[in-house]
């Protein structure tokens, strides 16, 4: 079972890595993780959508996901970024990352339908993006 779990983790890592570098052409920023229960049975699929923080921008700038999808932000810049929900004029307090250095990540699962705007607290005028949950 441990071996199976390790294999799953390896698969997830590979998918994330391939997604990160754009090798999966069909959907470069999505990874799927089969969540397993303690008994080892496949329970449900967890979809992880990847957003890169690259060249002082969120890539992609707009993503559309289903409720329950986890979004994972990965900082590919040498610069420090943050991920804050809302806009500079109106923050929503839904999520707020710590300071993200090179290679740091932040995750948030969107449970409800809606349009969620977010921005980088360090570069608020350059880095704005949207998550559409429907």
């Amino acid at each position: 079972m441990l071996k199976k779990k390790n294999n799953s983790l390896k698969l997830l890592s590979l998918i994330i890595m391939l997604s990160t570098f754009g090798f999966v052409n069909s959907n470069p920023y999505t990874a799927t993780n089969n969540i397993q229960t303690k008994k080892g049975k496949k329970h449900k699929k967890e979809v992880v959508k990847i957003v890169l923080l690259k060249n002082i921008a969120f890539v992609p700038k707009v993503i559309t996901i289903k409720p329950g999808t986890k979004v994972k932000w990965i900082n590919k810049d040498t610069a420090m970024h943050t991920v804050l929900s809302g806009t500079t004029k109106k923050t929503t307090d839904l999520f707020e990352s710590n300071n993200l250095g090179l290679g740091s990540t932040f995750e948030f699962t969107f449970k409800k339908k809606g349009i969620y705007r977010y921005y980088c607290g360090t570069h608020p005028t350059q880095m704005k993006a949207v998550v559409i949950v429907k």
């Binding site: 002082i56 900082n75 610069a79 420090m80 090179l102 607290g121 608020p124």
Partner: protein, 340 residues
């Protein structure tokens, strides 16, 4: 009665001295940036003449803590090399945003500057190596902000098409009269009106006037803040790469100022939410960015001290005045370095 008169006189003298120092700071740092304080002092008829001001500045400059160390190295003809051998550094940015710092009143970090009861970091040229307590705003027993504007603060604007090319070698370890360090440096950016501003380094500064320059190029050191190396108005920051050079300033390809101090640093990340300049405890060690500084000062090799000299940037501030310095951050950089 006599004591009372003496006290009043002492208070008057102290006040006069403090005003004098503040005027010096305004003169040194504000350059063409309007200083309300200086204007007020002029109205009061207490403005010193230029000669008196220069005398006071020289007096303060002689107190720079590194003067002795620098004297031991300035004439060195055979400096030792870097332990482990030379390091070559390549840094680039090919487009995107540059962040231009605007004159601002720097918030004062208590971990660097202490408190009004126990001030720190006050020796040397004001704003360059130290900051006299009289230049610091005080509220409820704590320092607040610097009383006059400087290149170090929270205000900024962005510019596009930011380009940066750096090829450097750090070979010489210490300050010296000669160096084996090498540098090619060019940075440019475009404002919203379409003007392109360029800074090019021409010659390395092999030894410092108030702070060491490590032969012109330095790697893996800590600068600013508590270190006494460079202005304490910037936070203490681990510096992967730095250089000190003399260079030229261009606007739309035309030379508009020459032989300016050009200082660059690749450091850990020292901006926080809203791009505010960090205090020491807000620095992000896992990220980095590049800073370019062209200060409103020129070295005077006769006096071995800095003279006030606003940079001809050619860039107009929203109030119509010229920006007297360049302090520019590059964030979308590529960095490569290796031992030679």
């Amino acid at each position: 009665m006599f004591g009372k008169i003496l006290n009043q006189k002492s208070v008057y003298n102290i006040s006069k001295t403090l005003n004098t120092i503040l005027l010096i700071l305004t003169f040194l740092l504000s350059s063409s940036v309007t200083s309300v304080y200086a204007q007020n002092m002029q109205h009061k008829g207490t403005m010193m003449n230029k000669k008196q001001m220069m005398k006071k500045i020289r007096m303060l400059q002689k107190k720079a803590p590194a003067k002795g160390y620098l004297k031991a190295h300035a004439m060195l003809k055979n400096p030792l090399g870097l332990l482990g051998g030379p390091i070559s550094i390549n840094i680039s940015q090919n487009g995107g945003t540059a962040y231009l710092a605007l004159p601002d009143n720097r918030r004062i970090d208590p971990t660097v500057f202490g408190s009004p009861k126990m001030p720190r970091a006050f020796e040397g040229t004001p704003g360059i190596t130290g900051l006299p307590p009289v230049a610091r705003g005080v509220e409820n027993g704590h320092y607040t902000k610097m009383k006059m504007k400087s290149p170090f603060g929270d205000k900024y604007i962005t510019a596009g098409n930011a380009r940066l090319t750096i090829k450097a070698v750090d070979a010489t370890a210490t300050d010296a009269a000669v160096t084996k360090d090498k540098l090619q440096f060019e940075a440019s950016w475009k404002d919203k009106a379409g003007n392109t501003y360029t800074v090019k380094a021409k010659k390395l500064v092999t030894h410092g006037l108030e702070s060491p320059t490590f032969g012109g190029v330095a790697t893996n050191i800590i600068l600013h803040g508590f270190t006494g190396l460079g202005t304490p108005l910037m936070p203490s920051e681990y510096t992967y790469f730095a250089f000190w050079a003399m260079g030229n300033i261009y606007k739309n390809g035309k030379l508009i100022d020459k032989m300016r101090i050009v200082h660059g640093m690749l450091t850990e990340y020292v901006r926080t939410k809203g791009f505010k300049l960090a205090f020491d405890d807000q620095v992000t060690p896992t990220a980095m960015h590049f800073h370019l500084m062209v200060p409103p000062l020129k070295p005077n090799m006769k006096t071995m001290a800095f003279d006030k000299s606003p940079v001809k940037t050619g860039f107009k501030l929203p109030n119509g005045m010229s920006l007297p310095f360049w302090h520019v951050m590059f964030e979308a950089i590529q960095v490569k370095a290796e031992r030679e």
